[in-house]
Symmetry: C2
Subunit: 353 residues, 2 copies
């Protein structure tokens, strides 16, 4: 059996026991609190994990881009939510092809998006379910008020080839309660107008363990919970021992007493800090700080680390933000503890469109 | 002929006329100032551009990882500098295989790295040229003093299978003069010891137009000059009209009067700021600020932009830092002005090891 320290670096290691524990813990919580999970696959981008999430009880999956949804449909997953404004002839054509072979729901936050869907689906014989995306405080995409949500819901309901299917939001961190109140107001307006939302979808791993409190929601879309990362640990979602994905790195240089350089730069770890100090946690040297990254080098400050690694030593890094790391590697290596048990191509990697 | 606005987004556009002009301008400068160019291919990761750089007069290329060098050797490029400490049995085996089919030079900044090379090459019949990497102020990899450079040079010269081949540095921005002084001191020490450096390699696009002033250097390794980017324009290396790579994006949402959202997030533009405000320059709306990115969304602040884009409109973005953008896309699309003239797979993308 190959051990991880026989591998070439940098490489992404995914601990299958931790994955399974993380998925089960979330599904158990969901079952206990009456929450329906629709996991976001952007974190792992692997059909086999999407299938496992479904086997454990997820009602479907979430993808962000059509390219991701195509990969998952190819793997036999047939209930896919695509919470993205899909615009332009090339994408609308792909969306229709996808909707002919899987159950696809999308979102819109503008008349322009809705009219594009309607023009595409009107004569197709396929009805496209469309939810209205709501900006409940996150400041990204979405209608600004429940009244605007109602107006778009009516526009969807009146558009050929479409069906109004509910509301969707990505709540800002710590704004789950505010999002819930927003969605309750919108739901009341919609009911009064004879358009009760069949789905009200919210999400986010940071608030996963409070998802049972979202009275307005009918489903929850966590993504990062499968692997966790340094940010999620800071948010209290789990511990470092729950983190299932690490990047195996080699110390390539020790130019000074308090500096080490790793072969993992922004091309392996990304430049995402998510507000954290440093660019990841070195499992074996938790007091060391990955102080700066260039593309292929990670410069580590050892000032506060009594133990100092040697040149050629391997270390494991828990990334700040695990989702974009997955997108940088063509392949992940599965491990159980120190043993390598397999590999998988990251099938939905690089699906930008 | 396909026009760029018929394409699906996000997509990377590379303007071939601008590429050619950027390459020629640098080579003309190099010829006029007696500078030998050894371009770093990390920016484009495309064999065809590496070959064009050689045709125009480059003496060889630079790669950062063995995987990149393998791709370039496969394409027939036979003079490759790999300025990286190469450690560990899997990589050393690949290095030897590569050195059997191309002229490969590497660096070292420690005895550990040198001894790994020697053990690998001693009985191979191949002599590996090794340069000493010098930290001339950049604070990354490299020996700290000219005296340490001399000590390692002696160790290389005394190691079976190796040849001491010179000095290499990646100078910090604005520290070219300091780096030059460092390298002059080290060169004098080496000459006194009977080990004159045959190559003294420095680089960096920000200081490209001052590379003729590096009296200590024998070659220069610019990378980003082929495409340029928002950071290089700020550094005065060229103008926005010289930037050859743009990301074509679609406005997917206009939730408020002063907010637009693009379909380009950190998965297309990376989170690199390089100290700049915002995450790229929108060519058509230069006063707009790409204020924040999530993976698939770019949130644009239009407060200072009189003109406001509409939903479904396409825009072109000049990234802050173009090299990691290249690494996010499987393919680039070649254009001349608004016309699409071809595509190429980014052959050396994702070569992390």
């Amino acid at each position: 059996m190959t051990k991880i320290h026989e591998l070439d670096t940098p490489i992404v290691l995914v601990d299958l026991d931790r994955v399974e524990a993380n998925l089960k813990r979330a599904q158990d919580y969901a079952n206990a609190h009456g929450v329906k999970l629709r996991p976001h696959i952007k974190t792992h981008k692997l059909p086999q994990f999407a299938k496992r999430q479904m086997e454990l009880g997820a009602i479907g999956i979430t993808c962000q881009k059509i390219g991701e949804a195509e990969v998952m449909a190819d793997a036999g997953i047939t209930d896919i939510f695509l919470p993205y404004n899909i615009l332009g002839a090339p994408k609308l054509k792909r969306l229709l092809a996808l909707a002919r072979r899987a159950s696809i729901k999308v979102i819109a936050d503008s008349v322009t998006t809705i009219d594009g869907y309607s023009k595409t689906f009107a004569a197709s014989g396929v009805i496209l379910p469309v939810l209205v995306e709501c900006d409940t405080g996150g400041g990204r995409v979405g209608v600004q008020t429940p009244e605007q949500a109602l107006a778009l819901a009516k526009h969807i309901a009146g558009s050929e080839g479409l069906r109004f299917a509910g509301l969707m939001t990505y709540p800002a961190k710590g704004m789950a309660a505010q999002a819930n109140a927003w969605l309750e107001r919108a739901t009341a307006l919609l009911k009064d107008a004879g358009l009760p939302p069949e789905t009200v979808s919210t999400g986010g791993t940071p608030d996963l363990w409070r998802s049972g409190e979202n009275r307005a929601a009918t489903e929850y879309r966590p993504g990062t919970y499968i692997y966790l990362d340094r940010f999620q640990v800071q948010e209290g979602v789990g511990s470092f021992e729950d983190c299932a994905l690490t990047v195996l790195a080699t110390v390539v240089s020790r130019p000074t007493d308090n500096r080490a350089v790793l072969d993992t730069g922004s091309k392996s770890l990304t430049s995402d800090t998510l507000g954290l100090q440093g660019f990841g946690r070195i499992v074996e040297y938790p007091d060391a700080v990955i102080a700066s990254l260039s593309e292929e080098h990670g410069v580590v400050d050892l000032t506060n680390s009594k133990a100092k690694p040697e040149v050629s030593e391997m270390v494991r890094i828990i990334p700040n933000h695990v989702c974009p790391v997955t997108n940088l590697f063509d392949e992940v290596t599965f491990v159980r503890g120190d043993e390598v048990v397999g590999t998988a191509a990251v099938a939905a990697r690089g699906k930008v469109a």
